[in-house]
C-alpha cells in the first residue's frame, strides 16, 4: 500500500510537471523527427563543378554518366580558375576536370587522367564523394567498353554486399541508436532532476519520518519512470518502424528485455546522481556530463567505437549506452543475434545491479 501511494504520487507529478513533459515527451519527439527526417550522412545531389576544357563525344559521355547519378548535381564551369573559386566559396564540394587533351590521351598506354579535387574540410563527405566519383568512373568505363562492342575486363572486380542495410541508409543506422539517447534522457537526466528536486524542496524530510522503507521509496521512484521510459521506447519503436521505415528483424520480446535492462541501469545512474548531488542544478550538469554526452559520443550511436584511440575505446566499456546501441542496431537491422545481445544484456544487467545497489547503499533514512 505504501508503495502504491508513492507510485501514484510520482505519476501525478510526472503528468503535472512541465519539465517532465518537456524531457519525457517533447524532446524525444523533436529528436526523433530531426534524426528521422533531418539529419543524414548520405550525401545526394552533391554540387560538383565539371570543367571540360575541350568538349568531345567522350567527355560528354562522361559528363552524362555523372549527371545520370543521383549522387551528383554537376555544373558545367568554363575553366579551372572559375571552378576553384566555386570550391573556395563553398558553392561546389568537388571539381572534376577533363583536361584539354583528355580525348587524345584516351587511347594512349597510360590512359587519360580524370582529375578530381575534393574539398577536404569535411573529410567524411570528401571521402564519400570520392567514392561516388569512383563508382561513376567505373560505370562509365563499362559503358564505353560495351558501346565499343567489347566487354571490359579489368583483372579484378569487386562484388560488394552490404549486409543488414543494403541501401546503406544512415537513417537505418541512426534511428535505432537514437533510442538509447532518448532512454538516457528519460532514465538518467529526468530522474536525476526529479529526485534532486525532492531533496531541494524538503519533501523528503517529511517523507522519511513515516514508516516508509528505503526500498519502497526507491521502488516508488523506479517504477513510474520505468514505465515512462518503456512507453517512450515503445513509441520510438513504432515511429521508427512505421514512420521512418526502419526494418525490424529481431523479436519484440528480446527488444523488451534489453530495453528493460538498459532502463534499469539508466535509472540506477539517475537515482545515484541525485542522491549524491542533492540539488537540481548539479544533478542536471552531472547527468549531462556522465550520461548524456557519453551516450551521444561514446556509444557508437554516431561515431564508430572501433576506430577510436585505445584509451577512449577502453572508456566506452563503462558507458551503458554502448551496449544498448549495439543491441539496438543488431535487433533492428540484423535480428536476434544472441552472441551480441546476450553479451550486451549481461553487461547491462551488471551495470543495473551496480548502480541500483550503490543507490540503495547511499540512500539512508537520515540527513547525514
Amino acid at each position: 500500500m505504501r508503495l502504491r501511494g508513492l507510485i501514484r504520487k510520482e505519476t501525478f507529478q510526472i503528468v503535472r510537471d512541465p519539465s517532465s513533459i518537456l524531457i519525457g515527451f517533447v524532446l524525444p519527439v523533436v529528436l526523433l523527427l530531426l534524426f528521422g527526417y533531418g539529419v543524414s550522412l548520405d550525401a545526394k545531389h552533391v554540387p560538383v563543378a565539371l570543367v571540360i576544357e575541350n568538349p568531345t563525344a567522350e567527355t560528354s559521355s562522361f559528363a552524362a554518366s555523372l549527371a545520370g547519378s543521383e549522387y551528383f548535381a554537376p555544373q558545367a564551369v568554363p575553366h579551372r580558375p572559375a571552378a576553384e573559386r566555386a570550391l573556395a566559396e563553398g558553392r561546389v564540394q568537388a571539381i572534376v576536370v577533363l583536361s584539354s587533351n583528355f580525348t587524345r590521351q584516351l587511347p594512349s598506354a597510360d590512359g587519360a587522367p580524370i582529375q578530381l579535387i575534393v574539398n577536404g574540410t569535411d573529410a567524411n563527405t570528401a571521402r564519400i564523394i570520392s567514392g561516388y566519383v569512383d563508382g561513376a568512373w567505373q560505370n562509365w568505363l563499362e559503358h564505353t567498353a560495351l558501346d565499343a562492342g567489347r566487354a571490359l575486363a579489368p583483372p579484378v572486380i569487386v562484388e560488394q554486399r552490404v549486409w543488414f542495410n543494403p541501401e546503406v541508409s544512415s537513417r537505418n543506422f541512426l534511428v535505432p541508436g537514437l533510442m538509447a539517447i532518448i532512454m538516457t534522457l528519460i532514465g538518467t537526466l529526468l530522474t536525476a532532476l526529479v529526485v534532486a528536486r525532492e531533496w531541494e524542496r524538503g519533501t523528503l524530510e517529511a517523507l522519511m519520518v513515516t514508516p516508509v522503507r528505503i526500498g519502497e521509496f526507491l521502488l516508488g521512484k523506479l517504477i513510474p519512470y520505468f514505465v515512462l521510459g518503456m512507453g517512450g521506447m515503445a513509441a520510438s519503436t513504432v515511429m521508427a518502424v512505421w514512420v521512418f521505415g526502419v526494418p525490424f528483424r529481431g523479436t519484440f520480446l528480446v527488444l523488451l528485455l534489453v530495453s528493460s535492462l538498459f532502463m534499469l541501469a539508466a535509472l540506477g545512474m539517475g537515482l545515484l546522481i541525485s542522491t549524491v548531488t542533492k540539488n537540481q542544478f548539479a544533478a542536471g550538469q552531472v547527468a549531462i556530463i556522465v550520461a548524456f554526452l557519453p551516450a551521444f559520443m561514446l556509444s557508437g550511436f554516431l561515431f564508430d567505437i572501433a576506430s577510436m584511440p585505445t584509451v577512449v575505446w577502453g572508456i566506452t566499456h563503462i558507458v551503458p549506452a554502448r551496449y544498448f546501441v549495439s543491441s539496438l542496431q543488431t535487433l533492428f537491422l540484423a535480428g536476434n543475434i544472441w552472441s551480441v545481445v546476450a553479451t550486451d544484456m549481461a553487461a547491462l544487467a551488471m551495470m543495473a545491479v551496480f548502480f541500483l545497489g550503490l543507490t540503495r547503499r547511499k540512500t539512508r533514512k537520515s540527513l547525514e
Partner: protein, 369 residues
C-alpha cells in the same frame, strides 16, 4: 551611466567566478567535451576488424590479401575456410568486413578475367560501411593497374587522380576541432547568460536591481558584456588547444576569426538572454538552454552536412547563427578564407545577432512590466 554599467560588469564577473558551481560549469564540461570530442568524434576508419576467406592459394590471391593487410584502415584478425563461418564472424560483429576470394580467382584473373573478389560489409553502421567500400575499391583499383602493368595488359582508358584540398589526408579531426570552437562557445555562452538573470530572479537580487536607478538597457549591457568576454575567452582557449595540442593547421586571418567570433557570441547572447527572461528558476533555464542547444547543434552542420538535409530543414538552418560561424571557423582554420567570403557569412549572422539582441531587450522590458 558608464559607471553604473562598469559596476554591473564587475559584479557579474564576481558572480560567475566566485561561485563554485558556475566556475565548474565554465571549466569542467567544456574541457571534458573538448577531450571526448577531440578524440572520439571522428568518421575516420582505422584498424577495422577484417576477416579473410581465401579459397584460392594462388599467388595473385595472396598478393591481393597482402594489400589489404598492409592498409592501415584494415586489421586482419583472422581467416576462415568455410562459407558457413561468414555469418558467424559478421553477425556478432567480430569482423566488420569479410573479403572472400573464390577458388577460381587465380585462374580467372589470368584466363577468364575479370576475377571476382567479394566484399561483405556489416551495414549496421552505414557510414563506416560506405567508407570501407571506398577504401577497398581503391585497393582493388591499385591492384588492377599494377597487375595490368606487370602483365602487359591494357590499362583502362582513363583513370582517376584524386586530390583533396585543405585536408590532404582527410582527417576528421581537422573537421571537428574547429567545429568545437563554435560548439563549446555556444554552450558556455548560452549557459552563462541563460542562468544569469534566472539566478538573480531566484535569489531575489533582480528586484533589488530594478529599484535602483539602473535602466533596463543598462542591465542588458551589464549582462551581455561579461558573457561576451567569457564566450570569446572560451573560443580562444579552444583555438589555442586546437592548434597546439591537436596540431590543426591555422591558415587564415586571426582578426577575421575574431570578427566572426564576436558577432557569433553576440547572436548567442541574444538567445541566452531571451531564455533567461522567460525562465523563473535556474532549473528551467538549464532545460531551456538544453532545448535550444540540441537542435541548434544538430541543424548547424557540426556533425552532419546541411546539404544532406531535406530542403525545408535546410531553410530552417538559415536562422541558426552556428551554421554561419562553423563555415567561418573551419574556413579560416583550414582554407584561409578570404575577407570577402568571411563577410558573406558575417552579415547574416550580424542580422541574427541584431534581431536576437533587440528581441532580448524587448522581452526584458516586457518581463519587467
Amino acid at each position: 551611466m558608464w559607471n553604473r554599467i562598469r559596476a554591473l560588469i564587475i559584479k557579474e564577473f564576481h558572480a560567475v567566478w566566485r561561485d563554485k558551481k558556475s566556475r565548474f560549469v565554465l571549466i569542467v564540461p567544456p574541457l571534458i567535451q573538448l577531450l571526448i570530442f577531440g578524440y572520439a568524434a571522428s568518421f575516420d576508419v582505422n584498424h577495422l576488424a577484417t576477416v579473410i576467406f581465401n579459397e584460392d592459394d594462388g599467388l595473385p590471391a595472396r598478393e591481393l590479401v597482402a594489400r589489404f593487410e598492409g592498409a592501415p584502415a584494415f586489421e586482419v584478425i583472422g581467416h576462415i575456410s568455410r562459407e558457413a563461418e561468414i555469418a558467424q564472424v559478421i553477425d556478432p560483429r567480430r569482423a566488420r568486413l569479410l573479403i572472400h576470394i573464390g577458388p577460381t580467382f587465380s585462374r580467372d584473373i589470368r584466363i577468364n578475367p575479370p576475377a571476382k573478389v567479394q566484399l561483405i560489409v556489416d551495414g549496421r553502421e552505414s557510414n563506416t560501411s560506405l567508407i570501407v567500400l571506398g577504401y577497398a575499391g581503391r585497393i582493388v583499383a591499385d591492384f588492377n593497374s599494377e597487375w595490368a602493368k606487370s602483365h602487359g595488359e591494357p590499362l583502362p582508358p582513363a583513370h582517376l587522380v584524386v586530390r583533396s584540398w585543405f585536408n590532404p589526408n582527410l582527417e576528421s579531426r581537422w573537421f571537428f576541432i574547429p567545429g568545437l570552437v563554435a560548439l563549446l562557445t555556444l554552450v558556455v555562452t548560452i549557459v552563462v547568460t541563460a542562468l544569469s538573470v534566472a539566478r538573480e530572479r531566484e535569489v531575489g537580487t533582480f528586484e533589488q536591481l530594478l529599484v535602483t536607478p539602473l535602466r533596463p538597457l543598462e542591465i542588458l549591457v551589464g549582462k551581455a558584456t561579461p558573457a561576451l568576454v567569457i564566450g570569446v575567452a572560451e573560443g580562444t582557449l579552444i583555438v589555442i588547444v586546437g592548434i597546439l595540442w591537436f596540431a590543426i593547421p591555422f591558415r587564415g586571418d586571426v582578426g577575421l576569426l575574431y570578427a566572426g567570433l564576436v558577432v557569433y557570441v553576440l547572436a548567442v547572447i541574444g538567445v541566452g538572454l531571451m531564455i533567461s527572461s522567460i525562465c523563473r528558476t535556474q532549473q528551467q533555464a538549464i532545460l531551456g538552454a538544453f532545448l535550444f542547444i540540441m537542435p541548434a547543434v544538430i541543424l548547424s552542420g557540426f556533425a552532419t552536412p546541411i546539404a544532406n538535409m531535406p530542403e525545408a530543414i535546410q531553410h530552417l538552418t538559415l536562422v541558426n547563427p552556428m551554421r554561419y560561424f562553423l563555415v567561418i571557423v573551419r574556413g579560416i582554420f583550414l582554407e584561409g578564407l578570404s575577407t570577402e567570403l568571411v563577410f558573406r557569412q558575417l552579415w547574416p549572422m550580424a542580422a541574427i545577432a541584431l534581431v536576437n539582441l533587440a528581441g532580448a531587450a524587448v522581452m526584458f522590458r516586457h518581463r519587467l512590466s
